[in-house]
């Protein structure tokens, strides 16, 4: 019985694989042979961050001159590495020129990536990374979100106080890197006590519920260090009334708007907004296109995207959907609170505006702007962008903020 069921499952899986393969292998635009065949591979979709990155790439692919050069196909393969492996396989077989992807695992995809490289496919990973050396990684991970935000919190608290750590998804290399960096800083200050450490799963709803629980146990908390989901962390702190504590977090619109809220300001909200920028995806796509079109010579490398950084005083509301004069947050009526705000960069990604990030449509009259020639190579991060390597001695060195309180 079990055997026959297993066989049936195998048969079903095989059929599905063949069917998927057939879809990918179907001749695409045979009459436009000059176009580059680019695949966008997402691990899962269902949060704002992921769809913003996809929209940015789609908008760029429709911005002249890439609208005539790129044939872009999007594949969403869920949270299972096996599904993404199968998707990559199909893309390689379909004759992809480039694959731009948010990889679900830093190691599980290595073999298929290597096979693709051997067939001449360029792999560009954004935000998350793979350790296979023939792929290009473009990420902010090595830029030190954890240590810099931790130091900012320590500075704000004068070197002592009880804090919460709101982590991301347990078991991911990104969460570990952020938390390790933060803890390396907190460890220097004996006056800093982490009274609660919990997982918000990079989701503002879960972060809010978990923070509400932690606040019930530790109402005397002095500050909060939070990975993505910090808009929920902020809501939980705001909901309980009274004095608010400093929060350092990522780039959610609802979090940044909190710093402009007069009531919250009166209640003492301070903090820093940093973390994962969706703009990385656009930068990765532009780099890939410059290499594919021969404008840039670059061997596979891990490239660091600069760490976004805005203190509570630097938050500035954008006028409508226009991103100009250094504004960095949108009105609540335009985007949900979970929208990641860093979608544009005056130098690296001037092509993108709010509509592009929300709908994947190119900006009227915009053309692709060349990237600066120099790239910032990322330091080795074991298990993140290299396999058998060692982190540099100054692994958690501060880059954006300096200590104002002496540590040990």
């Amino acid at each position: 019985m079990i055997q026959s069921m297993t066989r049936r499952w195998h048969a079903l899986a095989l059929t599905l694989t063949i069917a998927a393969g057939a879809v990918f292998m179907a001749p695409v635009h045979a009459d436009e042979p000059k176009k580059f065949k680019i695949y966008l591979s997402l691990s899962y979709s269902g949060n704002n961050w992921m769809s913003e990155t996809a929209n940015i790439i789609k908008a760029l692919a429709k911005t002249p001159p890439y609208d005539k050069l790129v044939d872009l196909k999007e594949v969403i393969s869920g949270t299972d590495p096996q599904a993404q492996i199968a998707a990559y396989e199909s893309m390689i077989d379909a004759g992809a020129d480039g694959v731009i992807s948010f990889p679900i695992s830093p190691t599980a995809l290595n073999r298929v990536v290597k096979r693709g490289c051997e067939r001449g496919v360029k792999f560009f990973m954004y935000d998350s990374t793979v350790t296979e050396s023939c792929a290009y990684n473009v990420s902010y991970i090595s830029a030190g979100f954890g240590e810099n935000t931790a130091q900012a919190l320590v500075n704000e608290l004068g070197g002592k106080g009880k804090i919460f750590m709101v982590r991301g998804v347990p078991g991911t290399s990104v969460d570990k890197r952020h938390a390790d960096g933060a803890k390396a800083i907190f460890a220097k200050y004996p006056g800093i006590e982490v009274v609660s450490e919990y997982y918000g799963m990079w989701d503002d709803r879960i972060a809010q519920q978990e923070t509400a629980k932690a606040l019930a146990a530790h109402p005397d908390v002095d500050g909060i260090w939070s990975e993505l989901g910090e808009a929920g962390t902020l809501n939980a702190v705001a909901d309980r009334g009274g004095k608010m504590v400093p929060i350092v977090g990522e780039n959610m619109n609802g979090f940044r708007l909190g710093f402009l809220n007069p009531d919250y300001q009166k209640r003492g909200l301070q903090g820093v907004s940093s973390g994962s920028p969706p703009a990385t995806a656009g930068y990765a796509f532009k780099l890939m296109m410059e290499i594919l079109t021969g404008k840039r010579k670059q061997e596979p490398v891990s490239i660091e995207y600069p760490l976004p950084w805005a203190t509570s005083e630097q938050i500035k509301l954008c006028n409508g959907s226009k991103i100009e004069n250094g504004c960095n947050v949108f009105d609540a009526s335009l985007v949900p609170q979970g929208f990641s705000t860093v979608i544009h960069d005056d130098v690296l990604l001037p092509e993108i505006d709010l509509r592009a990030a929300l709908e994947g449509k190119p900006v009227d009259g915009m053309t692709i702007q060349p990237l600066p020639a120099a790239i910032h190579q990322a330091p080795p991060e074991p298990g993140i962008n290299c396999q058998r390597c060692e982190a540099p001695a100054d692994h958690y060195k501060l880059t954006v903020v300096q200590p104002t309180v002496a540590g040990q």
Binding site: G46, Y198, N235
Partner: protein, 349 residues
Amino acid sequence: MNASPETLPSALAVVDQRAAAKTNPETVTAIMLLLATVLLIFGSKLISPALGSWEQVLTILTLGSFLLVAAFGQGLVILTGGLDLSVPGTFMLGGVLSAAWIGSGDVHLWFFLPTILLLGGVVGAANGLGVVLLKVPPFIMTMGMSIIVGSIALGYTGGSTLGAAPTLLKALMKGDTLGVPNIVLLILVFSIAGWLLQSRTHFGRNLYAVGCSPAAARIAGIPITRTLVLVYALSGIASAFAGALLTGYSNGATLRMGDAYLLPTVAAVILGGASILGGSGSFINTLCGVLFLSTVESVIAATGLDQGWRLIISGTIIVLAILIQQAQASGARPGLSRLFKRSSGQPKS
């Protein structure tokens, strides 16, 4: 929907007697769960002196309310011998549409909110029709429906869920009325309504009959198709409402917001003493199960243990609680339920 008097002949009297005979162990289970909950809340003072406060109780009630509302629907479905795995789909549907269609501007709130709940009901009714007419096992039917609803939502939103929470929902979760938090009133009103529906209406009694033995219920003249379709529809409405409440609480929605609620709804119903095979259970007990589960989660969160240990402890407590509850139930009425199940000869999915 009430069954007409002629649909309740003598066969149901047997069910009524069974319900009366069960009252005792069910009440014991409820009291034990409540006692354990109160003990946990006071005992948590040992972990942190700030715990055991009214603020903590309010946090537990607020975070438990989503589970309570969704578990009400799950409880009805389990009572009939089914299982509703579409909770994540309908939950998300309620949450995402509340943010996208109504939003913080309260656009046509009084039209859209009932429409959204009705949509949840339509999805549920489709589950019911599949189960009754197409004879698809509830497990498969509802799981498939959840995937379909999730996929439609992904296509419709493009992954980016827009909008924020309507004022009414925010007020429900966070406001006060005459000094009493609205969330307490909501839980009170919902619990009384749920209890009345399940235990004091013909429709509710029909569910016990269907769950105990569909064949006997059919002979007794109970409209099985209508009853089951309505049950799944109610579950869809309940879980869409739970999703809308979570949107109100967190001021936004995501496509995965319902995922975390599927298994806890089943756990709360079973903890309350209901049989996973159907035919027994009461909503007051589910309420006690929800309070216990939410309290366990809240207290464990305060321990400061690693995530792994937290999950191990909460899993162990749930298993232990179910073991104790079953031992107590079978001790109170030795073998009765098992005997009945065997004699009915109805394998349940």
